[in-house]
């Protein structure tokens, strides 16, 4: 029977390995042909031009910008919600709030995108100018999308803090809020940080919602109402018609994205092992 468990465990490892091999076999030659520096540092993406340009620098920046925006919106709301759920929330309300935040995770991303397109994009167009499809719109929607991850992970981190910390602070005369923010939250620092890193991973990899609402211009936005194109959006938009080097360049874009996610996973592991060391 153990053999069966072993095989199922191998299946996921095999999937990761096959994806890695596929990405690198197809992506690396394209990068070499374009020139690694021209590919990663190039600001011009024009695959149909002759000669073609394949520079993804603007999209790397765009991915970072959108993720940063999502973090600015999602992290404070998420952490404060987790604090409320873990320490302040009355039981009957918790029974409603908790499943509600979990439900947020179950909504398909295309629905988020559609919601953004029908509600947030016109709102930005009417109130902030521009055409609505923008950095701001993408960041708002992604900020909402990462909420369940951040709330879930930070709430369990907050709950893992020994009750004696809180009671000790109360005994010293601190108010309830002060006890939570000065003892429990700092004590669960690494868990909360892990939640933020997971949120970053989710925001960076999101595709369908972003492609609908970000405008997809290959440019570095100078205002929040300007559009941008993320790495993921570039792949999904152009894969359909691409051939030859263009297609390989899109796979190479996937390699860059993969490296980003790898870095996030590694930092996640680092945070985890540090928190284990510190107890």
């Amino acid at each position: 029977m153990q053999g069966v468990f072993f095989l199922t465990a191998l299946a996921s490892i095999a999937a990761v390995a096959v994806i890695c091999i596929f990405l690198f076999i197809n992506g690396i030659p394209a990068m070499a042909e374009i020139g690694v520096f021209d590919f990663i540092g190039g600001q011009k993406w024009a695959p149909s031009n002759v000669p073609a340009s394949y520079g993804i620098f603007n999209m790397i920046v765009a991915s970072v910008y959108v993720t940063a925006g999502a973090i600015v919106i999602g992290v404070p709301i998420g952490i404060l919600t987790a604090v409320y759920l873990a320490r302040f929330c009355p039981k009957p309300l918790y029974k409603v709030l908790k499943p509600a935040t979990e439900l947020l995770a179950g909504i398909p991303s295309i629905v988020y995108g559609f919601f953004g397109l029908m509600v947030i994009v016109p709102f930005i167009r009417d109130n902030f100018g521009g055409n609505g499809s923008s950095w701001l719109a993408a960041s708002i929607v992604l900020g909402i999308m990462i909420l369940p991850t951040i709330i879930g992970v930070s709430e369990s981190a907050l709950r893992a803090v020994p009750e004696s910390y809180y009671e000790g602070a109360l005994a010293l005369g601190a108010t309830k809020e002060r006890s939570v923010f000065k003892t429990i939250l700092p004590a669960s620092k690494s868990g909360v940080l892990a939640a933020v890193v997971l949120g970053i991973g989710r925001a960076l990899g999101e595709t369908m919602a972003v492609v609908l609402i970000a405008g997809n211009q290959v440019q570095i936005p100078s205002r929040l109402t300007d559009g941008l194109r993320t790495l993921t959006a570039n792949i999904v938009m152009e894969m359909g018609y691409s051939t030859g080097l263009h297609r390989q360049a899109l796979i190479a874009t996937g390699v860059v994205l993969f490296i980003f996610i790898l870095l996030i996973t590694i930092s996640m592991q680092a945070i985890k092992s540090r928190s284990e060391k510190h107890g």
């Binding site: 031009n49 499943p99 055409n131």
Partner: protein, 299 residues
């Protein structure tokens, strides 16, 4: 039991929230409709384009001169602030919802939710594309040498028959002949077709349909570009060449050409937009970023 009840309550609350959210969205779009009566021409034009590699984008940029060819180099000068969208439906949605937007779609996909502007005072209709009056259109030509094999001739007959032209319509293009139903002798053989990547999607559908009718035939399609297709047909390395443009004189002297379909591109704006007529130069100026506000066009 209690837990289940709590979950049900939560879900009900959430769906109630969702319903109100959508209702809110519905009413706000209604209020947009009512304000449509006065179109604000001082607004910046939202330029909507398709993604790189899309056949519609290729045709549009080529026909309007947004794509500049200089010897061996080709440069697409579409303004970098253009909203880029990867489907015809989404282009329509964007233009429908944004009263300062302009976009382009294949004529076959045009619907009532947006307004197609006249180009050089010619309306974007299938008839005008067929007659050649509508400027942003191009022919899909096939060309072959006089010694065409029996099976290749039969395939050409199939394309021009009502069966073949129905496929052309289904693919969103304009038909060119009102032929009768296909009634070939189904000869055996192999046909090689080469050329334009714009023509090859519809050619693939035609070949598929022909091979279903005439199981004795085998068709191979190689995709490159119009000039390479004509070259291959002249050299005899393929039976039929495909071109998404009119043939040049030296090609016409060696080949017989037939138009199998026409591709028209509709320029669409929001229904509230008071602009009905644009010249090709104005469209080019909008897409290259020279013209940025509607008041430069609507006087």
């Amino acid at each position: 039991m209690k837990k289940v009840l709590a979950k049900i309550t939560a879900i009900t609350v959430m769906s109630a929230l969702a319903v109100t959210a959508f209702a809110g969205c519905g009413s706000s779009s209604n209020s947009n409709d009512s304000s449509d009566a006065s179109f604000d021409t001082s607004k910046t034009i939202t330029v909507v384009t398709r993604e790189e590699g899309s056949g519609t984008r290729d045709a549009f940029t080529e026909l309007t001169g947004v794509l500049v060819k200089d010897g061996d180099t080709k440069t697409d000068n579409t303004v970098s602030s253009a909203v880029t969208i990867n489907s015809t439906e989404a282009v329509i949605t964007n233009v429908k919802d944004n009263d300062s937007a302009i976009g382009y779609i294949s004529l076959g996909s045009l619907n009532e939710t947006v307004k197609a502007v006249k180009v050089g005072s010619v309306e974007a209709t299938a008839e005008n594309v067929k007659s050649g009056d509508y400027a942003i259109s191009r022919p899909f030509n096939i060309a072959y040498k006089s010694n065409l094999s029996e099976v290749a001739q039969d395939f050409v007959d199939f394309i021009l028959s009502s069966d073949g032209q129905k496929i052309v319509t289904d693919e969103g293009y304009v038909t060119v002949s009102d032929g009768e139903a296909y009634s070939g002798k189904k000869p055996e053989g192999k046909i090689s077709v080469a050329g334009s990547s714009s023509v090859s999607p519809v050619m693939e559908k035609l070949a598929e349909a022909y091979m279903a009718v005439n199981t004795n035939a085998k068709i191979e399609i190689q995709t490159s570009d119009s000039s390479a297709g004509m070259q291959a047909a002249m050299e005899g390395t393929c039976d039929i060449g495909m071109a998404s443009r009119e043939l040049k004189d030296e090609e016409l002297s060696a080949l017989t050409s037939t138009t199998i379909a026409k591709d028209g591109i509709a320029i669409i704006v929001n229904k509230a937009n008071t602009c009905d007529d644009l010249t090709v130069d104005q469209i080019k100026a909008i897409y290259t970023g020279e013209t940025t506000v509607w008041s430069d066009i609507i006087k």
